[in-house]
Structures are given as C-alpha cells and as structure tokens.
Amino acid sequence: MVEVPPDESRRVWLLRSLKGAISATVIAVLYPVACFLRPRRATVAGAMEVVAPFTVNKLPGAADNPFDFGGKPCLVVLAPSGLRRLKSGEPLRSGDVRAFNALCTHVDCTVEYRPDQADIFCNCHGGVYDLNGKNISGPPPRPLETYKVDLRGDPDNPGKQEIIVSRKT
C-alpha cells in the first residue's frame, strides 16, 4: 500500500469535491433542459373517445374522413356487409363499421379510404390495406391500429346513427 502524505490527501479530497460540485451543477442544468424538451402534455395524451363528425349514411364518401381523434387522424370505413345492410335498411352489426388510426405503419403518412377499390391506400409509397386494416401490398410492415366503434341512435334507422370511436382498453 502506498502511503499518501497528509497534504496530498487533502488535495485529493479537494479535487474530488470540486469535481463532484461541477458534476452536480451540470446535472442541475441539464435536468431542467431535458424536461423542457419533452413535449407538453396537451400535445401527446389524446382523448379516449370521440364522436365522428358524420353519421353512418354519409359513408363511404364522407368529406371529413379521416378526422381528428386526440391529435391523430382517424379513418372510419364501411365493411361490404355494412354497405349491404345499410342499403336494405337492416340494423347494423358490430364489425360493419370499422375505425383505424389513419397513420400508415410504414412512415406515418395519412392513408386514404378507397370505397370503389374496397381498400385503404397510402398515397405516399403505395401501401395497400384491406378493410380490416390488414397490410396486403406495398411497404407497410404491420396492419393499421384499430379502434373500437360503437353506434349510438335508433338501430332500426341505421343511417342516422352516430359513430363513437374509442381506444381499446
């Protein structure tokens, strides 16, 4: 063991406390800066539930589709079975109206509902999803995120029903 002369040990102690104080200062400055850079709450956490800005009979060609759901675009589509029931005036069943997070799973472009092709298409890189949100062609690596859909209103008059989209829990 090497013996440290007393004055040298004092110097070591001083240097250590100096380094400690400087590190503490750096942390005290960097911590608020890092917190400041984190986005504020209003722009991250979205709403849990939203009413679509159109009723079921405006589908499939609704103008406001996709719409804002807690800061992200939400796309509502009508499954072929839903289209048939809507035309014949039968009450709609669950799964006839579907809602998705409209952000393409490839690189966050907003997708488009193509009723005539019965698919969901992304204009940015040509990704294609079916009406279940499953990726069937092009670059998207995963299906679209699905939301829960509830219909509110008279089931015997399906066209006038409101569409309530909520996050799955």
């Binding site: 200062t25 608020p32 800066v33 917190c35 400041f36 984190r38 504020r40 209003a42």
Partner: protein
C-alpha cells in the same frame, strides 16, 4: 497506442490544435490593483451563452403571431416543464448581461484600455452594447402583453422624432403606421436572426482584437512601472481561466436564485390595441434614464436663433444620439492629459446623470418596492466594490467607502430576507 489515442492524434494533426494551444499558452494577464475588472468581459460572454441556450429553448414553443404569442408564452410558463425557469433565466440573464456590459464599459474607460492600438476593440464593444440593448428592446415585445405593446409603441414613436428621416424610420421599425402583427414578426426576426448574426460577427472581431493585442495595462500602472521594471502577470490558461470560471459560477448562482425566487411576470394579455394605456408604463431599467429624461423635458424648448422653438422630444433624441456618438468615438477624443480632464468630467457627469435618472424613474413606480431596493442596493454594492482599488489603503476615503459598502450590503440582505419572508 489505444484506439482513442489514434483518434485524438488524427484530429490534432488536422485541426491545428497545436497552434491554438500555443496561442493560449502565450496569453498572459497583467496583475495589478484593478485586475478583477478583467473578469467582466468573460462574465458577459458567459451570460450571452446563457442567452443563446435559453433563447433556443424558448423558440421551440414560442409562436410569433398576435393570436398566439401570448398564449404560447403562457403555455411555456404553465404547461412545459421548467418552462417558467427557462423563461425567467432568459429575462434575468438578459438584464444581468446589460448590467455587466455597463460595468465593463465603465471599467474599460477607467483603465483607458481603448488607447492605441485598441481603438477597434472599444468600437466593436460599444456597438455590441448597442446591439444588446436592441436585443432587450425587441425581446420586450415578443410576449405580446399590454405593457410590451404600449412600450414598443412609445419606443418606436421616439424614432420618429429624428429630424428628416423620422417617419421613414418609424415605418421601417413598425412595418406599418401602428404596432401590429407585422411589427411582432419584424421584431421576432430581428431578435432571433438579424441581431444574433450581427452579434456573432462583432463579438468574433471583438474577441479577435482582444486576443491580438493582449490585455491592456492601465496607464497609471504603466507609469509606476518606471520604478518597478515589469508589471507582474499570470498565464491566461489555466490561472486566469479558472478564476474566470469561479466568476461564471457565481453569476450562475445569482441567476438561478433570481430566476427561481423572482420568476419573470407574464403580464396581461393585450385584448384591445385601441384601449387606453395601462398604469405603470415603463421600459426595462436600462432604458429608464432616457424614459425619465423624455418625461421631464418640456413640450417645446426655445433654442437661440437661428433654430428657434424645437420639440422637447427632438432635443432629447438628438442629445442621446450625440452622447452615443461621443462614447463610440472616445478613443479618438483622448489626446493626452489635457483632453482627459474634459473626458473625465464628461464621463463623471454621464455616470451621475445615468444613476440619478435611473433611480428617479425606478422609485417613481410604486410596485415591487422590495425587489427594487434589493436590486438597487446590489448594483450600488457592486459599483462601490469596483471603486475600492481606486482608493489608497488606510485613508479616510477607503474607510468611508467600506462604511457605505457595509450599509448597501446590509440593505441588500435585508431586502432579500424581507422578500423571502413575504413569500
């Protein structure tokens, strides 16, 4: 050699690091009774760096439009974590920076550091002070609150008093006949693009000149040198730099304390630009001396023939313009001992005028008396402390100085403790 060693050698060979190092090793700082004045420049540089960092952070959330400016600043201080601290630090360090620059200017003058060959250092320095005051003025409008709106309207209206080109200058400053959203956009662009670019250019040359000519030794010390052959000095790296950093550390501590204990106010949202101006209208403290002067000038001043009656404001504007010009060109007015009597007299009058007018304007506002006393006594303490080396030890003057210094320090501590208790 280790891999990191290789990288270090690679960078050293290509970056000219050795040249920089030998330059730094060559630099020495003279030691005499006023050496501590040399720290003011470094402290201003440190506060400017704080301004850059906090300013960039604020610009991440700020939105320069009349509909959103106030709301975005409100969101910064209420929603963003530590947003209040960042904004408060930005405002406080801006004020400290101007204060330090005033002292830097004054002490540089006292040491006559502007003498040949350092005229350009002085010139760029004075211009930098002007730029920082412009920073303060343009930044004041950005929160788009009532006070900012009316202060900017008044401040830009003063520009219109310049004879001849006044109205054109007004239109250039406001981007219209009145202060509108276009003014806000202009001031924002000025504050975050134009002024920073000019500042970097001027600051770069200022630092280059300081580096090129080295630290100036006051002529009084130089005169004494005939008795003692060499003025002692210390190397800049690491001796002076480490002392400098202690100063930065103190500045950081003061800034943190001020920003945390006295968060900067948000003000009231400007709802109606056509409403009457609110009570307690005043600019930042470093414009107060001009504000107070213009307040007490009569509407019309009779000047001797052939000029005749002139608007008071015009006289004020021309007077301050001339003062700025004299300060800028001080190195060229100094022509030896005789001219120094005149210059010193003028400088004494100017400092006294600045202090009297600022204090007058400061205390004619009733609110926040404790904060005003705290800051006023702090400023007085600093100025008195800087005066200590100019008195000889064991004289009545030195003893009186110490006495007053004790009083102002007590006033400062009392005001701060009062403020803390009130909280």
């Amino acid at each position: 050699m280790s891999r990191i060693g290789h990288i270090v050698r690679f960078l050293r060979e290509r970056s000219g690091w050795e040249d920089l190092q030998s330059l730094a090793n060559k630099k020495r700082v003279p030691i005499h009774s006023a050496t501590h004045f040399y720290y003011l420049g470094g402290m201003a540089l440190f506060l400017f760096m704080v301004q850059i960092v906090t300013g960039i952070l604020l610009s991440l959330y700020y939105k320069p439009s009349p509909d959103q400016a106030f709301e975005s600043v409100e969101a910064i201080v209420t929603e963003v974590s530590f947003g209040w601290l960042v904004r408060s630090a930005h405002c406080w360090s801006a004020n400290l920076l101007i204060g330090v620059l005033f002292l830097h200017l004054l002490t540089t003058y006292l040491m006559r550091a502007y003498r040949r060959p350092r005229e350009l250092t002085w010139l760029t320095g004075v211009l930098l002070l002007g730029l920082f005051m412009a920073f303060g003025f343009s930044g004041y409008l950005l929160p788009w609150n009532e006070l900012a709106f009316f202060a900017t309207r008044v401040g830009t209206a003063i520009v219109s008093k310049v004879p001849g080109i006044g109205h054109d200058l007004l239109l250039l400053a406001r981007g219209g006949d009145d202060v509108t959203g276009d003014t806000l956009a202009r001031f924002y662009s000025l504050h975050v693009v134009v002024l920073p670019m000019l500042t970097f250019a001027l600051l770069g040359s200022h630092l280059f000149f300081v580096q090129k000519h080295g630290m100036s030794v006051p002529d009084l010390v130089e005169a004494n040198r005939k008795i003692k052959p060499r003025c002692p000095s210390m190397p800049f790296v690491p001796h002076f730099l480490l002392r400098d950093m202690v100063g930065w550390y103190l500045a950081l501590a003061l800034l943190a304390a001020l920003a945390a204990l006295f968060p900067w106010e948000l003000g009231k949202k400007l709802t109606d630009p056509f409403a009457s101006a609110p009570e307690g209208m005043s600019p930042e403290w470093y414009f107060l001396f001009m504000f107070q002067t213009l307040k007490i000038l009569p509407g019309n001043i009779a000047l001797p023939w052939p000029i005749g009656d002139v608007e008071g404001e015009v006289v004020g504007v021309l007077f301050f313009g001339a003062c700025g010009f004299v300060i800028l060109l001080t190195p060229f007015f100094d022509r030896g001992r005789k001219s120094r009597w005149i210059l010193n007299g003028l400088a004494g009058i100017a400092v006294a005028f600045f202090i009297v007018m600022t204090v007058w304007g400061w205390f004619s506002q009733a609110d926040q008396t404790v904060l005003r006393i705290a800051l006023g006594s702090l400023l007085a303490t600093i100025v008195l402390f800087l005066l200590v080396p100019s008195t000889k030890p064991n004289t009545t003057a030195r003893r009186m100085l110490y006495g007053v210094l004790t009083l102002t320090t007590c006033a400062f501590l009392l005001a701060v403790s009062q403020g803390l208790i009130a909280r």
